[in-house]
Structure formats: structure tokens, C-alpha cells
Subunit: 457 residues, 2 copies
């Protein structure tokens, strides 16, 4: 019997680990809560009408269709029995277990509201396709509703957009909403001028894109300013409700009336991380990430690896590696490499060394900031690098071609191809609150007996 590898999560970490095991004599079971891989760095383009869901979320079965040693299974991992080496899974309408010889845990991170989960109702996060579709409906809908009103205060409230979190996701969202208001939607309304929209980018830290270094932070801030985005750094969010947001800066509290809020601040490891840590005696950090050994395995459990956003591992500078795609991809490959060495009877334990290829963020069309090796680029050259890198990494050729076409439409033309508002996104949040989210329930260890289809019935 082949060596059994169970991979939890079809993000960058899990997928690249699996691909690296393409020719290995292993039987892989991939367990994921959705049937698709999510290309998270482009999620903001779904939320702002540039790309379709399919373009950023190819089916896992398509991505791995040529790899015969993988069994793809839908479900949420509830728990891991590290003694018996079995994971228990809550799937749609069925609970099941999967035995492993090696376990790779790469379940990513979910949005964190820093203990204020009630903010989620008013400020959707940027973690899932559903988040993106809900934000798309809210953003485009806000202009439609503003156009119907006559009271200046009400119009202003609908035309104010607050993005919380000035990391790459938040910065890109703020930039795109500004582009929408100033360019794409310009002249499409009879009663409002979309260019009068107010877009704020708020963060408690002192600079936008603060991991990019002072030079690029300053450039990004300048580009945002030119786009009409109000940057509010050193500003903490203290309250969020349906009609506005309250911030605090230098001890001064201010209310900003705004119907549309986006939460792009803070992530936390899923509950599985804490369970795994408890079962193995590993430590977790404040964000819930598991402290791993230098080779990304768990202390005392060389057969269990934790990857990407779920791991806490110090980089060369002594600080924990950031939760970015490249860390996930490279740690996935490293874990696969460790497995192959073990199967070949070679010694394992080689430490994972992260090779920082750089950081990239678009501000608007034709304008980005990029930090590549020692190079610091901004403006158009950085944007060209951004396009090239994303084309290279967009998984699945089919989607790559239409994605490029949609980029042409959005960047050269004035259109947004995907502006549909589904009415159900908004209701769903109420339903989840009333009935509980069966997926989350599963994630937290409660039974999830009904299927999604049965739920609807």
C-alpha cells in the first residue's frame, strides 16, 4: 500500500504541496470546504466587478485533473486523532474519517474582527467568494440607492465608503472603489455625480502597506491621494454599525456616516489550529497560528506539517513569516520535499528557508508599488510587473484568457464586466445568524447532518 498523505485545505499551500507530490508513490486525499481553489489575491477584483467568480476560483478537480494520485473530498476537518492517525471530517450530509501516514494542515486563515464579531454584519470581510459577491452588491448598490435620494445627508452616507485595513487587500479595494467612482461610473447617473464619492482607508498602524518599507508606503500614499482616497493612518476603529463607523485618533473620537464598510484588517487561524496544538502539545501565537519546527512539522510529530497562514515560523529577520501566497507555496513545496525524502529513506528535518521574491500591490490601473529583491518600483513599471506575475500564477489556462480580456475591458476601456447584484447575499447573513452556519458549526465541532441542498429544502 502506498504512503497515505492527507492534505487539509486547497489554498496555495495545500495545492503546491500536492503538485510537488505528482510523481511520488503516495495516495493523497485532499479535504476542502469548497470544491474550488480560491486565488485570494484577486478577490478584490471580484468585489469591484472586474473579474467573475470562476476566474479567481477554478474547480480543484480541474486544477488537478491530470494528477491521478489525488482524491478530492468536500468537507471540514473536525478533529485529528494524532495517536490513531485519523482525521474526522464533517461533509455535506455525511461525517467521515480518513486515515493518514502523513498529514499536511494548510487550512489558511479566516477574517478576524479582533473580538468584535458583530462588526461582520456591517463590514463584510474579504476572505471568500460570498464576501466578494456581497461587497459587489453593496458597492454598486450604494450608487444606485444614492441616486434615488434627495436628502443631502442621506446621499452622502450612501456615497461614503470606508475600507478598514491598509494592507495590500485594503489598499487595492480602496483604489478600485475610487476608480469606479471617478472613472467607470462617471456620467452613468442622472441625480448624483459618482465622482463626489468619498473613499476612506483607515488603519491603526502608521502607514499604508507598512510591510513594504517607508519608501513604497510613501509612494502608495501619494498615489492614493491622487486617486482621491483619504488615508487615515494611526486611526483605530472603535465601532461599526449599519449607518456608519466610529474611529479614534490621538484620543479624538469621530463618527463617519457611511453605509458601505469593508473589513480588510486582521486574520486568525481557524479553530482546527488550536485543536491540533492541544493534541500535539504545540504552542500557538496570538493569531492562533501553530509554532512549528524549522522544517514546518509539529514538535514531536514529524508526520504532521502545518503550512502557510496556519504556521508561526521565524524568518531570517527573526520575525514570523508573513501570511502571503509565496510563504504558503514555498512551505507547501518544502513539506512535499520532506515527505519525498522520508519515502526515499533519506534524513529529514531540513529547515524551511523562505525566499522572499518581493511584494506587489496595485493602487489603480497603470499604477502599483512593487518591491522585488533590492528593486523598489512604483507607478506604471510596477503595474506591468503586477500583470505579469498574476498572469503567471493564475491557475488554469481557460480562466487566464478571459481574465486578460476582462482586464482589457476594465483598464483600457471604462467598463466593469461583472456588476450583477444577487439579492440573496444580503439575506444569507440574516439566515446564518438565525439558524447558524452549518459550515461554521462543522468547523467548531458541532454535528452538520443536513446537506446544503437539504438546508434549502
Amino acid at each position: 500500500m502506498s504512503h497515505r498523505v492527507v492534505v487539509v485545505g486547497a489554498g496555495f499551500g495545500g495545492l503546491f504541496a500536492i503538485k510537488a507530490l505528482r510523481r511520488a508513490d503516495v495516495e493523497i486525499t485532499l479535504i476542502n470546504g469548497t470544491a474550488y481553489h480560491l486565488f485570494q489575491p484577486l478577490l478584490y477584483q471580484v468585489a469591484t466587478g472586474i473579474l467573475s467568480e470562476g476566474e479567481v476560483a477554478p474547480p480543484i478537480r480541474e486544477v488537478l485533473r491530470r494528477q491521478k494520485n489525488v482524491d478530492v473530498r468536500l468537507g471540514w476537518v473536525q478533529d485529528v486523532d494524532v495517536e490513531r492517525k485519523v482525521v474526522s471530517v464533517a461533509g455535506p450530509g455525511i461525517d467521515y474519517t480518513v486515515p493518514y501516514d502523513t498529514l499536511i494542515v494548510a487550512a489558511g486563515a479566516s477574517q478576524s474582527y479582533f473580538g468584535n464579531d458583530e462588526f461582520a454584519d456591517h463590514a463584510p470581510g474579504m476572505k471568500s467568494i460570498d464576501d466578494a459577491l456581497e461587497l459587489r452588491a453593496r458597492i454598486f448598490g450604494a450608487f444606485e440607492v444614492a441616486d434615488l435620494h434627495t436628502d443631502p445627508e442621506t446621499i452622502e452616507r450612501w456615497m461614503t465608503f470606508v475600507v478598514v485595513g491598509a494592507g495590500p487587500t485594503g489598499t487595492e479595494m480602496a483604489g478600485q472603489i475610487a476608480e469606479l467612482a471617478h472613472r467607470n461610473l462617471r456620467g452613468q447617473f442622472k441625480h448624483i455625480d459618482s465622482r463626489k464619492a468619498r473613499i476612506l482607508l483607515v488603519d491603526a498602524v502608521g502607514a499604508v502597506l507598512n510591510t513594504f518599507g517607508d519608501q513604497l508606503s510613501a509612494k502608495a500614499e501619494k498615489q492614493l491621494d491622487k486617486l482621491g482616497v483619504e488615508v487615515r493612518t494611526n486611526t483605530k476603529v472603535v465601532a461599526v454599525d449599519s449607518t456608519g463607523i466610529e474611529v479614534e485618533s490621538n484620543g479624538r473620537r469621530e463618527r463617519i456616516p457611511a453605509m458601505t464598510k469593508v473589513w480588510a484588517a486582521g486574520v486568525a487561524a481557524p479553530p482546527l489550529a488550536a485543536k491540533l496544538a492541544a493534541a500535539t502539545g504545540a504552542k500557538t501565537d496570538r493569531a492562533g497560528r501553530i509554532q512549528v519546527e524549522p522544517n514546518t512539522s509539529l514538535p514531536g510529530h514529524p508526520e504532521i506539517f502545518a503550512l502557510g497562514d496556519m504556521m508561526n515560523l521565524a524568518g531570517e529577520d527573526g520575525k514570523p513569516l508573513p501570511g502571503v501566497a509565496q510563504v504558503a507555496i514555498q512551505s507547501g513545496r518544502h513539506a512535499a520535499d520532506q515527505i519525498k525524502r522520508r519515502l526515499a529513506g533519506k534524513e529529514t528535518g531540513q529547515p524551511f528557508r523562505y525566499f522572499d521574491k518581493g511584494s506587489l500591490a496595485t493602487i489603480s490601473r497603470f499604477s502599483a508599488v512593487a518591491s522585488i529583491w533590492k528593486l523598489r518600483l512604483s507607478g506604471f513599471p510596477a503595474w506591468v510587473v503586477w500583470v505579469a506575475v498574476h498572469l503567471f500564477y493564475l491557475v488554469g489556462f481557460k480562466n487566464r484568457v478571459t481574465a486578460v480580456l476582462h482586464w482589457f475591458v476594465s483598464f483600457l476601456g471604462r467598463g466593469r464586466s461583472e456588476r450583477v447584484a444577487t439579492q440573496q447575499q444580503a439575506f444569507a447573513r440574516q439566515a446564518i445568524r438565525a439558524y447558524g452556519d452549518p459550515w461554521r458549526r462543522a468547523e467548531n465541532g458541532e454535528p452538520a447532518r443536513e446537506t446544503v441542498a437539504e438546508q434549502a429544502g
Copy 2:
């Protein structure tokens, strides 16, 4: 002051009426429940993963961006005061009124379950983008869930798909599900053979596509049979629940276990039709359509037109004109023409003459049936006509290009570009049942004070 035209509905009827008034000295207000035009004949391609929502639903503001005499407003028309010539509208978070000199009512038709509204929970219709996304999640999800189960009966239940209604929409849906099972998904699952899926097409009438004539009905049935679709004509649906469907044929009742059901049978005019009929003294037919004058205006109200799916008007054969896109388009143009004549001081009342360009339905890739003038085509030639016609009518150039690319992917390759399942579609149905649908509430005359965004809050 210009002549004020109010158009209710941005479907084919309303949109083509507006386009025909492009150069007229009129001020048009278009009121629609969504911000997009829905290209309904291609909705089944969204439900089966071929096209994205944006490709079949361009924003109204984009479609009409070069036409300066239109004001686009979001909302549901509640009522019409035919004496004061004012429509009252429930919009998102705001009720408002719009006065008119001429009123064009083209609000289309909604799904009818023939008095069994509880079927809707188990067998979503095919009328809206939300319907299509929910069906997409259910159809692709059914294969994922079947792959997790080991009990043969459970697997069979998940792999049985019943489409109710063998008109063009139902026939196309059944054909596409069969294509998915036999071609696109083949070999993508470890534990099931997707080709073993059972697809049934059920209708109470005696033939599929029965409005296409006996010859094409027979051809279509043969093509469906070749695809592996079980056609059950003369078969009435008597019950639908979460795990199956009950049918009756020749007095024999049979239960078909099936998790996935699609409702493509029956339409009814929206409540607005009855209100308008009551206010003007016009009659309605069994489907709720308004009996109009030969020029599509209402009896005694030459300033009010009812178009497309909302009107009952006899064609050359004495039977009411069918609820198809061409009838809507041509009646929209006719109403616009009547308005232009009136503004020019010319006599009006010219009867609307429907020019039947023919009927088209795809069965699968490379295979369709077409009835064009006296021509009866089937198989590949009919499919080529289908592609050409749909390209011509797909509104908005941007979407046309990517739609063609997606057709290439689906028809030449084996892929489906859009397979994302949003988890929220399923929950939403529960929420709507629990809280009531604010849009529908509005449609039925109940106050709709909260906005969609506030609903979510």
C-alpha cells in the same frame, strides 16, 4: 416640457421600446427591480457553468449609456394611479412616485408552480440570476456529495436530476446536465462515474418543444435520447419534496428519488398586471396576462401599453402570442412607434403584427433544433444558426467577446469556466421564508422600508 414616458421593466420589451425612442423628444424613466438587463434565454448556461452572471446580465446603465433621455431607477412598481397618471414605487429604502404622460408596462412573467408554491423550496425556477446560481451550486454539488457516499441508493438519489417542463428552457437544461455528466465531469471523480447520472425531462404535454411542431419535437426527442436524457411526456408532477418527486402518468403514480430538481414549467404575470387590469377595467387571462387592444394599449387608456409576457394578444392563428423574446422586442418597438406617431400628431391605433422569425433551442453542443420561416433545421446546422442569433442579440460588446471564449471552452474543450458554488444561495431561501422577501413584499404592496444593505445589518 418633454413628453414623459415611464417604462416598467428592463427586459427585452422595455429595453427595445426605450431604444426605439432614442431620438424622440421624450423624457423616459425606466423602473426596474434590478440594476441589470437579464438575457433570459441564456440563463441555463449560467446554471450549468458555461457563462458568468455578467455575461448574461449587463448593467442597464451600460446598455443605455449613450442614450441621454433615460433616467434609470431601482425599484418595484406598487401601483398605478391611472387618473392622476402617477406610478408609485417601492425602492430600496425609499418609496417614491413618478408621473407619466405615457406608461409602458413590461414587467415580464415570474415562475408559476400552479398553486403549489411549496415546490419552490425543492425545485428552484429558472427566472433570475439567483435561481441560476442556486441551481449551479445544487447541480455541481450533487456530484461532489454523491462522491462522498457509499450507500448505492443514496448515491443514486444524488445522481438523479429531474427537469420539469419540456419547453426550450427545460430542454436546454436537461441537455446541458447530460453533457456535464457524460462529457465535462467524466473522470473527475474517484468513487462515482459521472456518466451514470440519470437525467429526466418531465412534462404534462405530449411532446418536448411542442410549440416547434411535430417534426422538430421528434428530432429533439431523438437527440435527447442519444444524450441519455429520459423523456417523460404526458407525465404530471403531483408532489415535490427534498429527496424526490412524484409523477403521474396514465393514472399510475410513481416516486422518483432525486435530490436535484429544476422547475422550468409555467409562468404567471406579476401582481402588477392584476392591479392595472382592475384600475382600467381590462380583462386578464388564466396566466394573469392583460387583454390588450390590437395596438398593445389598454382598453380606454391609449396612454398605457402592456408588452411582451404581460400582454394577452391574439396572433394570426387566433391563439395568444407566446411569451418569447421576439414578441417582447417587437411589441416594445410597436409601442414606441405609437408614441412617436402621437407626438407627431399622427393617428394611432395601428394593430401590432408579430413577425415570427422562428424558434430555436440547443439540445447539446453542436446540436439544436431550429424553425426559421418555412425552414426546419436540426443537428449541427441548427446549432450554427443558434450561435449566430445569440451572438447578434447578446447585448453589450464586452460580454459578447468573453461569452464566445467561454463557448469555445465549453463546446470545443471539456471545461466549464464557472463552477463556483456560493454557500449563501441555499441559506437565503430559508431566510426569505423566515423573514419574508422585501422585494416580493414590495411587489405585493407591503411596505419595504429597509434597504438591502440595512437588511443585512
